[in-house]
Assembly symmetry: C2
Homo-oligomer: 211 residues x 2
DNA sequence: TTTTATTGATTGATCAGTCAATCAAAAATA
DNA sequence: TATTTTTGATTGACTGATCAATCAATAAAA
């Protein structure tokens, strides 16, 4: 087995394993042994490549964020109008991968960790800013700046809120219903903030099933 | 010091201490020693009264929930119209006590814990249901049932989302601005769902400062 | 004397992190 | 090509620290 060039392979395997173990367990209180076992290597190797558990965890968040950014960039590229781009941003955040129970559990665990780990907090702040600014850019094409800022903040909060509520798994709201709720928010506030124009909303879909 | 009737005193002191220690530390990974020290007793006494750390933690959530319910009941009693009651429910959730960084950190920690502890999950589900049903009851007085349900879900999500975003402490949205965002959501969706009536909203306040 | 409150000391388990040793591929050398 | 040296990959065994939980003992009411 001892071939050369294993480092990137092992690093990826360990990061992926960490994400899954954390997701399954629903907490960062997982052991290096658990993670290493899932990755099929010894705990010592995990330490060899990452130096510490904290570092492995941080790389894991980075990987989660990277994935989300990739998806967002791709979704934005496909959309044409500002309104369509808003829908794209919303849809990406509720994409199946992101909405899987294990992924949600992992996000939640990282949010909690951010209270203690400066680096974790820094990374999550980047996520929050990015979401806000993605929304803001297109809202500004449709509304005055101050209204755009308020609505961006509201939409971001709604997305995060739907996400966290999902984590309780009681009467879970489906993906489509979550998207519909966020779209309704946007449509309603776009209408109320610029009552002059008739809304040219693309995906109204107020009737997404709720349960 | 060994007087009789200490039990309730100690229990309360320990639960309060637990909440503060968890809030400060931003995680449930606090030791019984930390909690006991803050409460001014020995770790052994904490075990004596609560049996286990998990039990103490659960009592702590119970206490948090009890407080929130007390506040909600009081706020609802003061409000007269359905619309005013909706505002009251919103306001309670952003009340200063609930919005203190340590309290938010504690809530977040409990959400994460709910992934593992069945009892914790059960309690948080109760909270989520209560919020939803408080909103729903008054919305149904203003709207058809299906619209009311959607809006209740959306408002609950927005409240939770504003809450969780607060936990990152970057560009924190103030209490008043959070309330304003939620009110805006309600006003806009009430208007769009029943465009016939003119909105008799009490506190529109679309201009709460954002930073 | 019985009951309640309280603690210091201890135990047993769990883990992150370390280290020296092994093994095989690759590179250097003959 | 054959042999030796170096290097990267990998692990088992160990250490030190931390903690939840237990328990026997003490002290003061009742």
């Amino acid at each position: 087995m001892p071939k050369v060039g294993m480092e990137p392979v092992r690093r990826k395997a360990l990061v992926d394993a960490a994400l899954r173990v954390i997701g399954d367990h629903g907490s960062l209180a997982v052991t290096m042994s658990d993670i290493a076992r899932k990755a099929g290597v010894s705990p010592a190797l995990a330490h060899h490549y990452f130096g510490s558990k904290e570092q492995l965890l941080i790389e894991t968040i980075r990987s989660l964020l990277r994935q989300l950014r990739r998806d967002t960039v791709a979704a934005l590229k496909a959309a044409q109008t500002p309104r369509a781009r808003l829908s794209a941003v919303i849809r990406v955040n509720f994409h199946a991968d992101q909405f899987a129970p294990e992924t949600i559990a992992a996000w939640l665990a990282f949010y909690a960790e951010a209270q203690r780990s400066e680096e974790t907090r820094r990374l999550l702040v980047i996520y929050a800013r990015r979401l806000r600014s993605n929304l803001l850019a297109d809202l500004k094409a449709l509304l005055p700046a101050d209204a755009a800022e308020r609505i961006a903040e509201g939409a971001a909060a709604m997305i995060d809120g739907l996400y966290i509520r999902q984590s309780l798994k009681s009467a879970p709201i489906g993906i489509e219903a979550s998207i519909a709720l966020t779209e309704d928010y946007l449509n309603a506030l776009l209408a109320s903030a610029s009552p002059s124009r008739e809304d040219g909303a693309t995906t109204s879909n107020s009737q997404g099933q709720m349960t």
